[in-house]
């Protein structure tokens, strides 16, 4: 048996165990950066919690265990718990991830959890999202088409539809924008997520607002701030090729007439 086959065998065995609802639990230490202006003013600190978790649990489940049985003051945002609502972006072991898409078995025995960077921390893992959404709103994130509406749908070829498919996946979790060193240094930069959402319309064959958006993104707060460090692409929980989308927009601004 070569290694590839053995690898597959292990995967199958692993999934069988999961399907069996394996109850063996593991010890996980969560090191969490805390901030609570009502308790300690502007000082942040670290707390450590040791819990027993099912290895198949999400890190979000582990954070819930801390909140529900150890420290009720721990504050975080979450909702859908399966990577779609975009509430629980955090810095997990130094990388921006959604807590509901990190599995305990991948981080035992110890995991470090911090708020995403570059946005003001309000309490523990909760940051002020308003600057992020202001960036999003600034790129006119809606279809612009004043040519009148047909009775039925506008036609769009599957190829034209495919052109902007990747950037329609954005869930506005801010993992990309808050992983960007340029954004950390200068919050005037609209950031990767805003550009992704501009991209989604610029390359939509039904849209007529590309020129206006490109003007906004050609500005000093726009795409040319990007230094292609690819942090954003690595951080995106939806697998969007964020850096590529930014490069698409740069190229269009430089070489295409809109």
């Amino acid at each position: 048996m070569d290694t590839t086959e053995r690898g597959l065998g292990e995967v199958l065995e692993g999934s069988d165990q999961r399907a069996a609802g394996a109850t063996h639990r593991v010890t996980l230490t969560l090191k969490i950066r805390r901030f609570n202006p009502e308790l300690r003013g502007q000082e942040s600190w670290w707390d450590e919690f040791e819990i027993q978790a099912d290895p198949d649990d999400r890190l979000l489940d582990a954070l819930h265990q801390v909140k529900w049985y150890h420290d009720g003051t721990l504050a975080l945002r979450r909702s859908c718990a399966h990577g779609i609502c975009g509430s629980d972006a955090m810095m997990i072991d130094g990388k921006n991830r959604l807590a509901c898409k990190v599995i305990v078995r991948d981080v035992v025995p110890k995991v470090t959890v911090e708020p995403i960077r570059g946005l003001p921390v309000l309490k523990d893992l909760i940051v002020d999202m308003e600057p992020f959404f202001a960036g999003y709103r600034s790129v006119l994130p809606y279809l612009i088409n004043d040519s009148g509406e047909p009775d039925a749908e506008r036609l769009q070829s599957p190829e034209d539809r495919h052109r902007f498919d990747d950037t329609t996946k954005c869930i506005l979790c801010a993992a990309c924008t808050t992983s960007c060193p340029i954004f950390w240094g200068d919050q005037e930069y609209v950031g990767p997520a805003a550009i992704v959402n501009a991209h989604r319309f610029i390359y939509d064959s039904r849209d007529e607002g590309a020129e206006e958006r490109m003007k906004i993104l050609a500005d000093k707060t726009g795409v040319f701030r990007c230094r292609t460090t690819f942090n954003c692409t690595d951080a995106c929980p939806r697998g969007i090729e964020v850096t590529k989308a930014i490069q698409d927009v740069k190229r269009s601004i430089l070489f295409e007439r809109f």
Binding site: P37, T73, A75, H82, C85, S87, Y142
Partner: protein, 578 residues
Amino acid sequence: MTTFHTYDTLIVGAGGAGLRAAIEASDRVRTAVISKLYPTRSHTGTAQGGMCAALANVEEDSPEWHAFDTVKGGDYLVDQPAAKLMCEEAVHAVYELEHWGLPFNRTPEGKIDQRRFGGHTRNHGEAPVKRACFAADRTGHMILQTLYQQCVKRNVRFFNEFYVLDQLMVDGACAGVVAYELATGELHVFRAKSVVYATGGYGRMFKVSSNAHTLTGDGPAVLFRRGIPLEDMEFFQFHPTGVYKMGILLSEAVRGEGGVLLNSEDERFMERYAPTVKDLAPRDMVSRAIFQEIREGRGAGPNRDAVWLDVRHLPRDVIEEKLPDVTEFARVYLGVEPTRELVPIQPTAHYAMGGIPTNVDGQVVLGQDETPVPGLYAAGECACVSVHGANRLGTNSLLDIVVFGKRGGKHAAAFAADAELPELPERPEGSVRDTVNGLLNRPEGANAADIRNELQDSMQDLAFVVRTEESLRKMQEILVGLGERFERVYVQDSGAVFNTELMEVMELGFLLDCADALVAAALARDESRGGHYREDHPLRDDANWLQHSLAYRQDDGSIRLEHKPVKLGPYVPMERKY
């Protein structure tokens, strides 16, 4: 400190129904949306498979066939005029979303592509029909994004992370709401002529659920506490294909695209239960079939308490282009590679057919004669029109939120345009203030997570796919005990800034209210229909039960039930075969 605001129309909740209502109302009157989440976090975003409308882009179809399927799928508890209206308005609703930029998948000719979905058939049940308009397997995400984009364009006023905890009523009419601001702990009184509730479902009362942690029946419970009845609460949908143990939804689109269910003997067992449409039977039937297979020893997996979802035979491009998210869920959460492995699934608590009773204009209505409550509206999953009856068909929820969100928003705004600004009751925030202070000042007490776990575990055991009088009576006793413990619940965080623990306790209280109503109505309904299956009364009983139930919270805390007839139409109830 209390802050006062005045608006014409308020929308509570910012999912699909709330945002669609906001678009409609904000064009007409002074409107604000109050949401406990950022709008794009709303659970509409997790809907996957599609939104049905008889566009006939791919196959012959008609709104009338769609209406028939909706009524039959709902096991004839559907109000037929409402279903007819929804299916007729569906076509325009899809075009409108497309005009607003929704990136639907396309046919080679560039039209909106359509695919099959459970219970949707050609010519009254002849064969499955391609009726579901979709954007890969993230149709809900695209609807939520598109509607939010339109709100951004219109500069709609949002109060994000404001949690509505009380409805203000004066002389039986709506006067506004009281909300708790999460960031500061401050209370806000919103005086308004009309309010549209669009707060979604309450699936979190069950242990295995596809619902977000935040789906806790807030809107229905707030109104229930103010004397508004809840309709058809016993009808809850258990979706057949949830991720084993976790409940994360694996869309019916998987079967729409050709995926099949297998038992431990590798048998495609749905052929026995629904010979014509097989794996595309309505969800209640498929969930019961799975339950039956497991009970008869043909459950799959080492514990024999799951069945397999099989997509190994599907073309790779169908999996990658049309089902990418679902495939990733299996990989991330089960460690399974669906292109070559079977995916273990089990039914998951998914959708509330019941809720706040409304008419087709979104007006909240009272009693058997359906008297509208002036200024009060509801739409989407928290409402009961009723277009889903005893079992909702797949995709009809996205359709419901768009059609009735629009109608609710439009009528709430029209009402507000003509109405005087209502007077506020004395000390309008008093009730909420007392509750919050009581919780924050309690030095010790019961653990909320323990109460919630026990609620979820016992609802799962006693009020899930299969129910009996005995199980429901036991559940009722448990709920009494949980309610008593909740009276003594303890909040460790006494702070004002983002006290999410306090918020979770409020949510738990609302869940307990919804569970009380669900169990009381389920106990009374001694028949089986749609999502409500009583093993001790396994047949549908049209002679006695072709009627909706209404649950009222009485002053002494008990629940009173009354019933109102189903609005029938052209479709005569017959045995449901697929």
